[in-house]
């Protein structure tokens, strides 16, 4: 019995099928585990280890390198406020201070109701639209204290704040753990075929045979 639920178990199998070596699926599967539970549990790491032919320690070793993986419960909504240079120049730090005082939480912490985790993050690639913050990795451009308060009020009231971001995202704001709401799906009859590198013999079909020059 897999730790993943039935739908995620199928997704996990498809993810594994995309990689020539199963260990490459460790990071995508950690994302999937976080999507299911909101954070990466020890049971999830054991399951991923079993699926990828690694150990739970290796899974933790890889996962703990990356900021997006949380190894303890966090808020349903992770608010990432950029304070890197482009945002700093236009008030990113003020926005962070505002978020900390409004939500009564220090950067890195989670509100008592378990709704918000606030993080002071590095450049999120929205520099011309500074200052900027993201909620569960959905962008809010040219933000200020007012935008921030509106987004928080939306979430508390059960409304989607996404369109306030003016960043192209629409629909519901998923809870923490869900990244792309649409995944890659390759129909079996369209696959070129993923095989381990050691099972590949010779050049692919469309590459011409190299011309062997006659020895003089």
């Amino acid at each position: 019995m897999s730790w993943f639920d039935a739908a995620n178990e199928r997704t996990a199998r498809e993810i594994l099928s995309h990689y020539p070596r199963p260990k490459s699926a460790v990071i995508p599967l950690l994302h999937l585990a976080q999507e299911q539970e909101g954070w990466v549990t020890p049971q999830a790491m054991s399951e991923i280890a079993a699926m990828t032919g690694t150990t739970a320690a290796e899974v933790l070793g890889t996962g703990s390198f990356y900021e997006m993986f949380k190894f303890h419960p966090v808020g349903k909504y992770i608010v990432n406020i950029c304070t890197n240079i482009s945002c700093q120049l236009l008030g990113g730090e003020d926005l962070l201070n505002h978020a900390e005082s409004t939500l009564d939480v220090r950067a890195g912490g989670t509100t008592d109701d378990g709704l918000f985790t606030v993080e002071d993050v590095e450049c999120v690639a929205a520099c011309t639209e500074a200052p900027c913050f993201t909620v569960n990795y959905r962008y809010f451009h040219r933000a200020n204290a007012e935008t921030f308060d509106e987004v928080v009020a939306d979430i508390r009231a059960g409304r989607s704040p996404l369109e306030r971001g003016a960043a192209g995202d629409i629909g519901e704001l998923p809870e923490h753990g869900t990244l792309g709401r649409i995944r890659q799906h390759v129909p079996d009859d369209r696959r070129a075929g993923v095989v381990p590198p050691e099972e590949v013999n010779g050049a692919p079909a469309w590459m011409p045979e190299p011309v062997v020059e006659e020895a003089l």
């Binding site: 995309h18 070596r21 490459s24 699926a25 460790v26 990071i27 995508p28 994302h31 990828t52 690694t54 890889t62 996962g63 990356y66 900021e67 997006m68 993986f69 890197n84 240079i85 482009s86 700093q88 120049l89 236009l90 590095e122 450049c123 999120v124 690639a125 929205a126 520099c127 011309t128 639209e129 500074a130 959905r138 369109e163 306030r164 971001g165 003016a166 960043a167 192209g168 995202d169 629409i170 990244l179 792309g180 709401r181 649409i182 890659q184 390759v186 369209r190 696959r191 070129a192 075929g193 993923v194 381990p196 590198p197 590949v200 050049a203 692919p204 079909a205 469309w206 590459m207 190299p210």
Partner: protein
Amino acid sequence: MTSAYIPHAAGYVDNGGPKIVTSRFAHEDSFTFERFLATGGYVGLRAALAMAPEDVHAQVREATLLGRGGAGFPAGVKWGFCPEGVWPRYLVVNGDESEPGTYKDRLLMERDPHQLIEGCLIACYALGLSQCFLYVRGEMALAQERIAVALNEAYTAGYVGCNVLGTDFSVDITLHWGAGAYIVGEETALIESLEGNRGMPRLKPPYFPAAIGLYGQPTIVNNVETLANVPWIMANGAASYRKMGSESSPGTRLFAVSGHVKRPGVYEVEQGVTTFRDLFYGETYCQGIRDGHELKMFIPGGGSSPWFFTEHLDLPLEAKEVGAAGSMLGSGAIIVMDETTDAVKACHRMVRFFARESCGKCSPCREGTSWEEKILARILAGHGRPSDIDLLLDVGDNISPGPYPVAAHAAEGLDAVPFPPRQTTICPLGPSSVAPITSTIRRFRHEFESRITRSDGIPVSAANTANSPVGAGS
């Protein structure tokens, strides 16, 4: 609710110039398969498939397409580094955009994902690459969705997968999500991450993963913007591409200008013919520094590049000239700061970034960047010591020995030290942390000194102690 819904992220500004990678951005539905096909989509791929793979490679080499990720290495040359007869070979697309100030790959992925996919297909065809991994930064949820949709459509329509368009060219493109680590933008760290490991750069040599890369196989790693140029080159030919831009830097480039300008934005700019001054003050570009303020300094190529000042405004946006002047165009990220900017604070913020993002593999970087950050933090807090300025430079010298690349300082009669820096580390992250320090100390040393020593000669730290109840009498 005031902010109107727009179907794509803001940032891109049309400056009326020639367009290669942003040609579809005028359409709100630029990311859809229908729009792509209606606007020349897959014309480049069809042209490529009608040619021999080596001729496709020759076109890209002839176009002198320079890498857009930071180092600016010619893609066609990099493509030629795959050892003969070693199979399989892979393509890894670097979509882990996270250099401070850089905002272009996210736009390209969100607003024209099919163009990127077409570029990947052409590269795979030219070099015999049997699988492509599209590594998208973890934090970019919308880009992940748009690429997933685009890939699903392209697979179903026969552009990706087995027997592309009925030919014997077959390739799988796999969308892979990162998980938050700046260093993974370094190509060997990217490969480590893709293999399921901690994203730490590999020891060099080999200098290029084209020799030994993913799973030990020949691997081409290209930036998103680099590959987004390839369909245009195949559809229009290398000669047309070379007609734009300058001799050594042909074509156009995306520049993200952020900070204290009136109209920050992402501009597609013809390389070599446009200057920083045009970009900052031109009516079709940023329209000047914000009202009532003047330029103090700017970062020309992302957080890793040495800073420029007013006397560098007339340099063209061209890799060679900017390199000779002591900096780099890097990832096309320009951060403009006006006279209200505190040089020490800005320097500290950049250094804090490198200290947080150091992967910890090389001691000079792991230890050095944290010490740089701590020293700058104490100067900012008013606890700086008179020796701290030299100490900062000394720590920097341990990471990047010898003269560090700097811009010329005309007032002192000092010449520029050209890019790139030397390094005691495997990758350029550590040496990059030295850029803000040498840039600001060389130019604004008085700002550091005034935070350390008062005009009456009393150290700020001593004055603080005298006034502080904790320090009194000690």
